[in-house]
Amino acid sequence: MLNIIKAGIQTTVQDGGRFYVRHLGINQNGALDTNALTMANLLLGNEANAASLEIICGPVEIQFTHTAWFAVTGQYFELTINDGHGNKLRIDPGWRYKIQAQQRLLIHSTSHSGTAYLAIAGGIEVPPVLGSRSTNLAAGFGGHQGRALQSGDQIPCGEPGAGQQQQLQQTTAGVYQSASGHHIRAIPGPDYALFDTTQCELFWNSDWQAGSDSNRMGCRLHGPSLNTEQSQHHSLLSHAVIPGTVQVPPNGQPIVLLADAQTTGGYPRIATVISADLWQFAQLPAGAPFRFTRCDRGTAIDALKAQRASTNRFKIAIGSSRR
């Protein structure tokens, strides 16, 4: 069990997401950075998509009621184990550690912090809803009572299997943390033709920044206005949208839809971020500029293959006894 002493701002239980429910208007939720979630879980021998705590802004302080193995992924977070006798041990994200009963884990953000994932060997064991343990904040279900964590919450954890326990004892293990880059690849969207040459060039060749009004629904970009008269007045028939869709609303500032985005929309879709690069929006430091790099679907598929190969190599290297 995890006793939440300090919950941070919008810490939620997230796993790989829930699927086959978009036709009901239910968005997929799940970790904003599925790579970081996978790495944290594989470090512990968990299923890659096991539920963990997603931390967007600390400080978070958690007391463990039982001895447990845990791992935190996500760059530029400061981690400390407080043993309750005045001893504090600084530890690093990207490694698995064992914490004793009654000890506390402290997670602090820095100005460069992105999104962190705290995984526990055995997984977070809140009841699944519609096939997933992810939190649906819009409708208030799933995760822990359908909401962000609060001080005083108690979060149940599963027990690692015997094989998993044995694996954990055998070696220490850590993983290199990827930093988000300055280039995010995207494929021109279905409504790309609605934007004139100038607007398209602005899209690919400008520095964009993630606005402070960004959240799990979408990353609101600040940069040049992409508002042509034509795109402003064009009303599209409502269509499905997916995470990675880059919409341009009437104010001309693009929004990159993320895991909690609504399932349908009507704004022009200028581009779609490739699946392999979507995690970067979870790790962009505030105010850091980035650019979109145009690519085709073939490149996007190659990038996914490379990502999956990397995950498989990591699994082998760590000798995970479970998939």
Partner: protein, 248 residues
Amino acid sequence: MRLTHPDNASTPSLPELEGAQLYYFGDCAIVLEVVPEPESTIAAPQQAQLHIWQLQKNLSAQLQQSAEIKDIVIGNGNLTVIFDALLADVKALTQIIADIWQAVATGNCHECRAAVQTHELSIRYGGEFGPDLPTVAEYHKLTTGQLIELHCEPRYTVSFMGFLPGFAYLTGLSEQLFTPRHTKPRLNIPAHSVGIGGSQTGIYPLASPGGWQLIGRYVGTAPLFDINRQQACLFAPGDHIRFIPYHA
């Protein structure tokens, strides 16, 4: 740009369809869109949407057991299949979509109407339940009574679900009631509020921010969205809805 031509081996050419176009959307989705696009941008013609419902039904039945399919979502005259880009056999998938569309577009759609329900929804108009009712009435130079009558007159049809869990996009709103959205959206609209936004009317299933003009509130006992109910959403595409004014 509607990507239909292959750019490498992992992106096969999409089959040609009659009355519809297939295109890639990102790296993990394919869209079928009815063409030609209707002259009205308000809603796809009724016949086209009937075909979309039937396509969704048949496609879901065929693909339900496939691990690589993540979602099938319909919109206004369109349907999107979302899949695992590495697991899915895109060529086979698009052929299935094309074959089912061919059958649907040339066949009749009477079967898909069988399970359609009609919902009569009790709506409390005005006062604290519909704070924008007077201003909307004034905008259209109507009395509030006339506005309510116009709002309750049509038999609306659920075109598709989206925007929020349990939110139904409806067709059928009288042109006389088309009202612009608020320029500054409200931060919190109570759940079950009934609103008009542009050419659409609908009911917010949950509390949400929103820019629609609020004219009333659904006061029936069955929630529009209940995660604990067997069928979480009260409405399904194809259902009919009538609004009945509630009298205290």
